[in-house]
Symmetry: C2
Subunit: 350 residues, 2 copies
């Protein structure tokens, strides 16, 4: 009798469900909440016919890449709020592999608290948008499901990844999402919606997720302002990622041409798989920043913002996230090349 | 360095903090989340100098009235999500008293898991807006604090209650809120904001609450659409509750005059303390609804919507929530009286 949302919201949820090839979907105010709800549902211990179980006393842990959002940016909510342990899995500098997951699943005799889920970030944001290969995803899916563990996609940037998946492997979004039991997508990052996420999966999962949404305090009296903005962003920007990826690739090629020996400038991945990439620069941090400012004064192009110690190259290397949105795609490649040449000269100079 | 919100949002939070007389306040997307965060903070077991502790393994329960929102309308989120038990306290048909709380605190030897908090709803929504008396609040506050238990106000409808508190006891909102360690207020119910809540308390509490907000996935990328709507609603409607209460009182007096023997129509509380009240009607449910419809046809006034079995009078009594907002306040009292006379005639007829 009670509707979980307005008809309009149900339509939007169905639109995303269809895009992912899943039966059902639910709007959630934030990705943090969406993924926490997945972990609650994945506990999957149904006692005494209770359709929507409480969390059991021994909560099952989950596996995730060391750089995943849940491990880095959520104040360990899974642990402190849910009492669910995260098990970092795989090397921090490389995409998650099936072998990583298998080793972790084999590593211990988990007993009743065997992992409830594996979270795969598509693409790995903290690895410059690099992706676990499709072969690995397929193998991982078969492995994880064979162990009765849920396979969840952190698809916060799935929109960025789809052009690569489609062009390289010829897969539709539905065909790619079928390897996962659940998919979370976000609307405010690459798309520019105000805030909000959608969780998609089979009907049973989403029915249970709606109960958890209420328990989290996430079923707001109205979700419309955010949800309308999210749908608008999806319709407006959803088709922009192929050209943004192409522009990124072209820009990286140009910058690579400025330093062909890669003595000062390197990219990970070397060929962008999305409209973002990590650019690593060698030098003294203060000098790098000074040179960025002088180039900005001369060319009005500020090449980067925040420098972080490089995880891929050490020592003396720093990196920044290089990503293309609707605006910075328009900068002419000649201007980019010129600015980077000036920057390299300045950095290498006395 | 990192700002928890925009300057505007911080100003709005400070506005509510000032209204409650508390040091600090935080915008939360929903009241369910605000109160769950209070319960997490109230665990208050600081281990090894950890300023923001995780929930300890043995989570302390809390006391709340059997009709409180957390017990009735949140799918037992406190239990299933947080692992925190609710202990119903007091009689379901009467406001919570200090004696109720004392009896429960004395009832068991709680040991390490003694209750972390007492939640008092001001006013009791499910009791027709009746309030625990000020004397009881004062005594309860002293008792609870003496036991090192947190005293939290569910002030979802505090705006409705303030005219009574001010006129009857001469207290300002700050003077009333001082009896509580934390106060949650809502903006979408009586005020008509889109959705949203604010939690107020001392700085230490709100600092910790901000960490929990992130763990819940409640620190949205932007809270502005909701928060702006909430502040607007507060400024627009915050001053309306005294006249709405007066109108409610006048309307109840008129309806009581229609059935002075109280054989068919009764109110709880008998004298409204806010702009809402419960109206109990005796009769066959189907016939009551039929008569409501025939009166609506004749007068264009639909006297009530949903009938529920009365908790105060049994058997053959039903009740509905009678509340006054900006629109139905304008109906002339003569029209109200006329409609209720017709209704009573119809119900009592053959």
């Amino acid at each position: 009798k009670e509707q979980p949302g307005s008809t309009w919201l149900l339509d939007f949820e169905q639109e995303v469900a269809t895009w992912t090839g899943k039966e059902a979907a639910m709007f959630v105010p934030s990705g943090t909440m969406a993924q926490a709800i997945v972990l609650c549902c994945a506990q999957d211990i149904h006692l005494g016919g209770d359709r929507v179980p409480s969390l059991p006393r021994v909560r099952r842990p989950f596996l995730a890449h060391p750089t995943s959002h849940v491990l880095l940016h959520e104040n360990e909510g899974h642990k402190h709020l849910l009492g669910i342990q995260a098990i970092p899995c795989g090397k921090a500098t490389q995409p998650l592999t099936c072998r990583d997951v298998e080793a972790e699943l084999d590593a211990s005799s988990w007993g009743v608290s065997q992992p409830c889920a594996v979270i795969l970030e598509v693409p790995h944001r903290e690895l410059g948008g690099e992706m676990t290969s499709l072969e690995e995803v397929k193998a991982m899916s078969a492995l994880v499901r064979g162990r009765k563990v849920k396979f969840h996609m952190d698809g916060a940037r799935i929109w960025e990844a789809m052009p690569y998946i489609t062009r390289t492997h010829g897969l539709t979004s539905q065909e790619f999402c079928q390897f996962f039991d659940s998919v979370y997508v976000s609307f405010y990052k690459g798309l520019g919606g105000m805030t909000g996420a959608v969780l998609a999966g089979d009907k049973k999962l989403i029915d249970e997720a709606r109960v958890w949404l209420r328990r989290f305090g996430g079923n707001l009296y109205t979700a419309l302002p955010y949800a309308v903005s999210c749908q608008h962003a999806l319709h407006e920007m959803g088709g922009s990622f192929e050209s943004r990826w192409d522009a990124m690739a072209a820009m990286v090629t140009v910058v690579q041409g400025v330093d062909p020996e890669k003595s000062r400038i390197r990219f990970t991945p070397e060929t962008p798989q999305t409209c973002m990439v990590h650019c690593h620069i060698r030098g003294d941090q203060h000098k790098l920043e000074q040179c960025r400012e002088s180039v900005a004064q001369e060319t009005s192009l500020r090449l980067f913002r925040t420098l972080r110690p490089s995880y891929a190259f050490t020592p003396d290397w720093f990196y920044f996230e290089f990503s293309l949105g609707p605006e910075n795609t328009k900068v002419p490649l000649e201007d980019v090349e010129h600015a980077w040449r000036l920057f390299l000269l300045a950095v290498s100079g006395p």
